[in-house]
Symmetry: C2
Subunit: 407 residues, 2 copies
């Protein structure tokens, strides 16, 4: 894409009410726009990053048997009353609204209830199980405070997967598979090395749930990490008993701040019992379906990548989630740049800075936007057909033949 045509521009300053580094950089780079506290729009560059993240997650969810759907945001009070999650006294993050006939409706902050109800129409026998269903869907959460940029949105895109298993054993096996899939996601998104599985509170059907926590001072969570064993404990369940239970030593655990980029949760039969999701087993006996839920916030993941990998010049995207692979920068060599753009963009995603600006401004913009490979085309290489290739992450540059690019 030609940068002269892109409607966004980089900005020197983020809005004054924006305090979080992730949102400040993303707004300055033209990736997102702030509507209100906790409510952001995705601009073209930001949408490209989210689509890349979405595709990575989709591949990993499909690889563990996930079937993709998309449920509504508007929620029917009735089904949530059955699980006792309608009342604002029980769930304090509801956004609620009303139909014309004055009936109340909610905006989904999660989807256990409606999906469990859907599954009652399709599950009746052990032959119908197990099933794994996921979606990319906009969640609404009426947060009291929202000061962490896109790490804690009041409206945000989430991948939520739900598992429906015959019994605890079948559930546990799948639960372990999702751990691997989640690790793959965070590895592929470039934050694998800083992301650790974390024991957190489990609820009535399991001792623990598991979070994936990425180390950074921007995190809202406090965890206790054993760096050797690559295991941590969320502060909310951190005590001597849990440390012993996990065979860890207090002296090996370091208190650090982290962002929860994903969580997986055993739900037992809490929702299936409340909504009568049951099946007949081989002997014809009625059994409750055993469920689990597994979430990743896409905006939060994008924000975490920014928090963790950016430097003093701006964002540093890993190639896997970068909006473009190459940032082609023309410095007074328009004709040669145009040709190279045509050639390179046949096989690669290229943002072409063809704007009529000073070189210094272009370089600063490119570093802020954070595309992995900057290709600088200037008069210097005109004679021997070379360009300068700069690695945004390391800052290393080398002179290479333009014919060696993108091969």
């Amino acid at each position: 894409m030609r940068q002269s045509e892109l409607f966004t521009k980089t900005r020197r300053e983020a809005p004054k009410d924006e305090m979080a580094k992730n949102a400040m950089l993303l707004i300055r780079g033209g990736f997102i726009h702030k509507e209100m506290a906790g409510v952001y729009d995705l601009l073209p560059l930001g949408l490209r990053v989210i689509k890349k993240i979405e595709e990575i997650i989709r591949e990993e969810m499909n690889a563990i048997g996930g079937q993709e759907i998309e449920m509504s945001a508007l929620q029917d009070k009735g089904v949530w009353e059955k699980t006792d999650r309608w009342s604002d006294d029980v769930v304090d993050s509801w956004f609620k609204t009303k139909f014309k006939n004055n009936t109340e409706a909610g905006l989904a902050f999660t989807h256990e209830e409606p999906l469990t109800r859907i599954m009652t129409e399709y599950i009746s026998s052990y032959r119908d199980l197990p099933k794994y269903i996921y979606q990319f869907q906009t969640k609404f959460r009426n947060e009291v405070r929202s000061k962490s940029g896109i790490l804690r949105g009041r409206e945000f895109l989430m991948k939520d997967l739900y598992s429906f298993s015959r019994d605890q054993k079948e559930h546990d096996e799948y639960y372990e598979k999702t751990k691997v899939a989640y690790k793959n996601v965070f590895n592929r998104a470039g934050i694998g090395e800083k992301t650790f599985i974390t024991f957190a509170s489990g609820g009535s059907f399991s001792k623990y749930s598991h979070e994936f926590q990425t180390l950074t001072d921007a995190g809202e969570d406090v965890i206790y990490l054993d760096e050797q064993k690559k295991i941590s404990i969320n502060k909310e369940v951190y005590n001597d008993e849990v440390i012993r239970d996990l065979s860890l030593e207090k002296s090996d655990l370091k208190e650090v701040k982290a962002i929860e980029v994903g969580n997986i949760f055993s739900l037992g039969t809490r929702f299936s019992d409340a909504l009568d999701l049951a099946y007949k087993d081989e002997k014809g006996e009625k059994k409750s379906v055993v469920m689990g839920s597994y979430g990743i916030g896409l905006g939060r993941l994008m924000g975490t990548v920014v928090e963790v990998l950016s430097d003093e010049k701006g964002i540093v995207w890993p190639e896997s989630v970068a909006p473009f692979k190459y940032h082609l920068i023309d410095i007074n060599s328009k004709e040669r740049s145009d040709e190279l753009y045509e050639k390179l963009s046949k096989n690669h995603e290229v943002l072409y800075d063809d704007r009529d600006l000073r070189a210094g401004e272009k370089f600063a913009d490119a570093d802020l936007v954070g595309i992995p490979y900057q290709v600088i085309v200037s008069e210097r290489g005109e004679k021997d057909g070379t360009v300068e290739l700069k690695d945004r992450k390391t800052g290393e540059t080398k002179i290479i033949s333009e014919n060696n690019l993108g091969v």
Copy 2:
């Protein structure tokens, strides 16, 4: 995909409260699920159709210079007050909700206001124009009645494009381009022959807007169609003056029912003036940006394809938007079917009915689900390696070598 693994099943009956043919067939086929009146979930088959439709529209919007974004559903009261569209007395289809601090927020039924405000940050000079921005985004409309299935949802996915031009001439030229792009979309989705451009009310900045109306008795609109000239007039503006204005003859116009599958609208400077979206022209003079908006409801388009193309046996998908190209049906030839599935699915989208059911049930299901090509693998063709290929639309069948499939 193996049908034995798909979590949905076909149903003999739609829910009792569902009256619309489109939703009845889509629910019975396992494409959608009804949450409440006007609120539907997309199940795996339905999501596949919507993604196909989305990609067709995306290609056509990109072809006319569109840049894709995604804006929030939650809306800031302030910006809508400036255009006088916040009050329920002016716009009666708002869903409204509240933040924790008791501030009101709306759920977007359209996005002129927030996008115009975004553009004020990026448009200041004539060099920044024209720009064309679009999104696929969930809209919320608090309809009083919702009895047309997915043709009129209270929550629905919409493609909305907005144009920002320097003057009326530049706007008009783009407006004509969008007409072509819209025709391409409806042609590619298989309803081009039944879809006609229709003159509708224009508002204060243009005499007419244009709708794309698809003929069917399921339509909620009444239009007056000149079949020769392929032009129609919406009942809302149908009068002698308009007929004369468009050089039509009353006697050539036939009253028919139709579904509005798309609309395009000249907005003039209504929103840019209210929100101060202006630019400096070549002479340094301040000018208002001229805007247009262009919508297509994706669920409505899916529903229209079902209404228009289905037959007494079920849905008939055009290949372009079908959830799969081939429906491979095994009739007691499991081994050969398995092999063919492996081979065929390398290059094509195949739903493989590997279920343990009677042939008659499988055929009825396949006709209901409406995948374009049914490939029936039975004992009959075992010796000479042939299969039966049935065209869902025409019902024609032929015996062909399995090696000729999908080449």
